[in-house]
């Protein structure tokens, strides 16, 4: 067999070893390509699920902190434009936050305090002010307003 230095000789010809090894390399590469692509898609899906879960927990935690802060406490939350390129919506209800992304739905539980209007829908790329407002002597509720 020829040495590596003789892979391409001065006459412009290529050694048989080089051709064969390239063929074997290409065959292995072809069979691996499908598997690698599959794993990359899987990693992307996992990232989407993880980001979605973190997002819904973050919103629930923010509402909880506003509620536990007492009357007059407020927080501003800005939602990212997308989760792995997919648009999403977050729905606030008493005791739970729901998130819908890419046909999937997830839920995070929070303190079962009253939400103004019973339900509030939040959209990506928007900022919201979440505040704890006292409505009467023994009743306060979470009021969410979009910041324009």
């Amino acid at each position: 067999m020829n040495s590596v230095s003789c892979i391409i000789n001065c006459g412009g010809s290529v050694s048989v070893d080089f051709i064969l090894s390239t063929m074997v390399f290409l065959m292995v590469l072809t069979s691996l390509a499908a598997l690698v692509e599959d794993r990359m898609d899987s990693a992307k899906d996992a990232e989407e699920l993880g980001t979605g879960r973190m997002m819904v927990e973050y919103v629930a935690e923010t509402v909880d902190s506003v509620y536990s802060g007492g009357n007059g406490h407020s927080a501003v939350i800005t939602l990212p434009p997308s989760i792995n390129g997919d648009p999403y919506t977050i729905t606030l209800m008493s005791g739970a936050v729901f998130m819908d992304v890419h046909g999937l739905r997830g839920q995070a539980t929070m303190f079962p305090g009253a939400i103004s209007g019973n339900e509030f829908k939040m959209y990506s790329s928007r900022s919201y002010n979440i505040s704890n407002i006292q409505k009467s002597e023994n009743y306060s509720e979470i009021v969410v307003k979009e910041i324009k």
Binding site: C6, S15, R53, L104
Partner: protein
């Protein structure tokens, strides 16, 4: 052993080259079928592993398709909270030629762990999701979605038909 244009001014290749290439071709033909079969099984099992991990991730992060989420909210509310679901290993068993499909039947069994989920009903739901993704991943990889049903059961590859056994919880 070199195919050199310098040695061949009349556009002919040496006899050794022709013999070697011919021999290589014949040997390749002999090994082509078993290698192709094994390669197909390897690809299917790699897809099964990817699918199982996808299903386990979905179970772990508790993000489900809307219809499933609705069912879980009413019947298995514990599954709507995140939990730890890990794939331990995946085994397969060859059940030989299946006369209905004229393909070799392979049953895949996933071994998983979910310490925080204890009731059999809830574990069954998690296992079904994992198995669904295993079959879906195989069908999508071999582009045989049109040959199977809505839940990808069974999943097909050109030479094999794949089913999934109940997930074993360890």
């Amino acid at each position: 052993m070199q195919f050199s244009l310098e040695q061949d001014s009349r556009a002919q290749v040496p006899m050794e080259f022709i013999l070697i290439m011919g021999f290589t071709f014949v040997v390749s033909l002999v090994f082509l079928f078993p290698v192709g079969e094994q390669n197909e099984l390897n690809i299917a099992l790699a897809s099964a592993r990817t699918g199982a991990i996808e299903g386990a991730n979905m179970d772990s992060f508790a993000l489900y398709p809307e219809e499933t989420f609705k069912n879980y909210t009413s019947d298995h509310s514990a599954l709507t909270k995140p939990s730890t679901v890990r794939i331990i290993r995946i085994e397969y068993m060859n059940h030989g030629m299946n006369p209905s499909y004229q393909k070799e039947k392979i049953q895949i069994r996933v071994y998983a762990s979910a310490p925080s989920v204890r009731t059999p009903g809830e574990r069954n739901c998690l296992g079904d999701r994992i198995n669904y993704h295993v079959r879906m991943s195989i069908s999508q990889n071999f582009k045989t979605e049109n040959l199977t049903n809505k839940v990808y059961n069974p999943a097909f590859s050109p030479r094999y038909v794949f089913t999934t056994g109940d997930v074993s919880w360890v």
